[in-house]
Amino acid sequence: MSGRPVPVPDESSAPFWSAAAEHVLAVARCARCGQFTMPPDVVCPHCHTTDPRFEFTPVSGRGTVRSWTVVRQALLPGFDDDLPFVLVDVELAEQADLRLIGRLLDGVGADLHVGDAVAVGFEDLAPGVAIPAFELT
């Protein structure tokens, strides 16, 4: 165990985390309008249906960097040994403005630019618990 916060899956997220455990990125998709949403909501933010019946659909995991920061102080437990680390704000390829934030596993030495291509990677925190992150491609 790394000591980092582990996600507690709930009704809205269980399929996401079980897919992540298999190193698959699956994003909530509205059964009515077909649009992806991150994170899922009780109402579809795109078509506003109150019965979105989100399906967690595997996506390519590819995307582009929209911004990033280097984290130099840990406000959460379990990250001290990782300092400093890079967080990237990624727009996923599947849909305009579908954004996910994760650690960049290439480290702080990476030469980063807006628009750089990344692909999802996973950090195994504990048995059955994997967290999506990104790597430059």
Binding site: L75, L87, V114, A133
Partner: protein, 400 residues
């Protein structure tokens, strides 16, 4: 909301009080609040029993899961009314981001509608013990499950992403932000109750501070404090009989994010687009244009907001704020400089959540700013929080 605010200039600020701002007060926050409220009521030339409305926003901004105790770590209007010893007929609080815009608009609406004749509006800020935003969570539940396991957490990470997005998009350098921090601290150093009284900051100190969440360093952030401010609002008619010149509320507009995002994810375009929409509503509501404002107090809880507010308000061209401030565009001592942080802001006073912007508008427009009094101060604008959330309020020295 469309067109001019029906109650424009019909409600005014008629008095104020401000406690000393310090890292941790030696008296409980509620005690500071009661003393400050009483001082504001006296300043307005009123007796306690005349106050019939209490309005506030009680948010404790720490993300650390602190225990919230009314009168100790927060002060609600209900608590304050009870402890000042007033039987109020109208008590309300704003919940959400944009606390000052939220509670000022509630107070204005209450006076304009006749729900209350004299409203005591206050904001009490507390700095809890321990590291302000540190959180010992081992499990991430609810919305935090989407960000905390990845290490994305807290307001510094929140602001660092759009800050870097701005630098990359417009070819700006973080060194250009020194002018913002230096200007805020220069003005804050002149304010007796400020945490930074007599302690200006120079550009070398700013530039040599280590980065915390690139490109953010400590001087890009306001310092958490204990402090209380209180204002009394009443109708323009009643204000005529009170000792100080009234400062009228001409209009207000709040932001309203339209896109669902991860917690604390504020992409640059959300802020700029939402802010531009808010500004259009604001000018229509107040019946003015940006060029009418001679005291635009921009919000600066994080330094980046100064650049973004200048741009969404049209006070400089899009993408140019970094050059504008670097060229002394907001030097309030320079003839022709925009007095955007003349009240010291949050960076120059401490984390008082938009109170410095509101107070500077009041003091300058009521011509109560003492040594700091500016010649030209007729239309003031107090901005709060991020443009896409917080909104802004237009104040006027004269009804129009």
């Amino acid at each position: 909301m469309s067109g001019r605010f029906a109650a424009s200039n019909k409600v005014a600020i008629v008095g104020y009080a401000h406690s000393q701002v310090c890292r941790r007060a030696d008296r409980p926050l509620g005690v500071l609040a009661v003393d400050t409220a009483r001082a504001a009521i006296a300043d307005a030339g009123l007796r306690f029993e005349q106050i019939d409305g209490f309005v506030s926003s009680a948010l404790l901004p720490s993300a650390a899961g602190q225990v919230v105790e009314d009168g100790v770590s927060t002060v609600s209007s209900a608590w304050l009314a009870q402890h000042v010893g007033v039987k109020a007929r109208y008590v309300a609080g704003f919940e959400g981001i944009g606390q000052i815009t939220g509670c000022v608009s509630i107070a204005v609406n209450a006076v304009a509608s006749g729900a209350a004749d004299y409203v005591l509006l206050h904001r009490a800020l507390h700095n809890p013990a321990g590291r302000y935003h540190a959180n010992p969570m081992r499990e991430a539940r609810g919305l935090q499950q989407w960000t905390a396991p990845q290490g994305f957490f807290g307001p510094l990470a929140m602001i660092a992403l759009p800050y870097n997005e701005y630098l990359q998009r417009f070819g700006a350098k973080r060194e250009s932000m020194a002018a913002v921090a230096v200007e805020a601290r220069k003005n804050g150093a002149r304010i007796p109750w400020s945490f930074w009284h007599d302690r200006p900051l120079n550009a070398d100190e700013y530039l040599s501070a280590p980065k915390l969440f690139d490109p953010v360093c400590r001087y890009d952030c306001d310092i958490p404090v204990d402090g209380v401010a209180a204002f009394v609002l009443s109708s323009a008619d009643r204000a005529k009989d009170l000792p100080h010149p009234p400062v009228y509320i001409a209009g207000y507009a709040a932001g309203a994010p339209t896109r669902r995002r991860l917690p604390l994810h504020w992409p640059l375009d959300d802020i700029l687009d939402g802010g531009a929409q808010m500004a259009r509503r604001l000018w229509a509501h107040a019946g003015i244009a940006a060029t009418d404002v001679d005291l635009p107090q921009v919000y600066d809880g994080f330094s980046l907001f100064v650049w973004l507010w200048l741009e969404v308000l049209g006070l400089c061209p899009p993408g140019e704020a970094h050059r504008f401030v670097e060229a002394a565009g907001i030097d309030s001592d320079r003839p022709g400089g925009l007095p955007a942080l003349s009240g010291g802001g949050a960076l120059g006073n401490g984390r008082m959540h938009g109170i410095p912007q509101m107070l500077e508008c009041y003091l300058q427009l009521a011509r109560r700013a003492g040594d700091r009094q500016r010649d030209r101060a007729t239309i003031g604008l107090a901005c709060h929080s991020s443009p896409h959330f917080g909104g802004a309020i237009v104040y006027s020295a004269e009804p129009f």
